[in-house]
């Protein structure tokens, strides 16, 4: 299990290569890459503020829960902060397991929970001004469906 919270971009191919290097026990690797999306040209840039220390702590806790719920061989999360423009990568979640369902479900779980539990706040700049983005009800719902 490995978590990085960083300003710098990450290389998806390199991260994947390191993740599976020398492993023959892995049957499936699920990856999710979140990117900044230009909504009909509205978002010119966004800045992700985070709470250093708490961010790593919360992501560690979420990753530990994923490992408790699914039989995972490995798990990696990278989350960026700072100013980002459309097309920039924001987050990488990567899970490896013997079976594809475990890899896919845990990856989905991690990204849903990151969205509601990791202390990041999004400040969006657009043509009409800048604002702090409000939390969405739908994200809470997406995370809630993993409750049991």
């Amino acid at each position: 299990m490995s978590v990085s919270v960083q300003r710098e971009d990450f290389d998806v191919g390199l991260e994947y290569a390191r993740f599976v290097a020398g492993r023959t026990d892995v049957g499936g690797v699920a990856l999710f890459v979140g990117q900044v999306r230009a909504e009909s040209g509205q978002v010119a840039a966004m800045t992700l503020e985070h709470y250093p220390g708490m961010t790593e702590r919360q992501i560690d806790a979420i990753a530990a829960e994923a490992r408790a719920r699914w039989a995972l061989d490995a798990c990696r999360v990278i989350h960026r902060y700072g100013r980002l423009v459309p097309g920039d990568r924001i987050v990488l979640v990567m899970t490896a397991a013997s079976h594809r369902q475990a890899a896919l479900e845990s990856c989905h779980f991690l990204i849903d929970w990151l969205k509601t539990k990791a202390p990041f706040w999004k400040y969006e700049e657009s043509e009409t001004g800048a604002r702090w983005v409000e939390a969405k009800e739908t994200d809470d719902q997406a995370a809630q469906r993993w409750r049991r």
Partner: protein, 86 residues
């Protein structure tokens, strides 16, 4: 006690971080600390005007109004998190 403010709570209070050396009189939990901070008036009153919009953490774990606090704690106030993915 260290108090941190994030996102628009930082903008409204005008502070990213402050040190409050001792627990104010009568303050033993998060809710009471919010009352005390709001009592400063100005940007602080504004930041804590709608408490439904404010989340808190004590020592980097999510907290509730009745979560107890002590003099050495790190307390943070921020809006609901908004992650980074669509």
């Amino acid at each position: 006690m260290k108090i941190l403010y994030f996102a628009w709570l930082k903008t409204k209070t005008g502070l990213g971080e402050e040190d409050v050396p001792q627990l104010p009189a009568g303050v033993t939990n998060v809710g009471q600390l919010i009352d005390w901070l709001a009592g400063r008036g100005g940007g602080f009153a504004e930041a804590f005007a709608n408490r439904g919009l404010v989340r808190a953490a004590v020592n980097q774990d999510y907290a509730q109004p009745d979560t107890p606090i002590r003099a050495g704690d790190e307390i943070a106030f921020f809006p609901p998190v908004t992650g980074g993915v669509g």
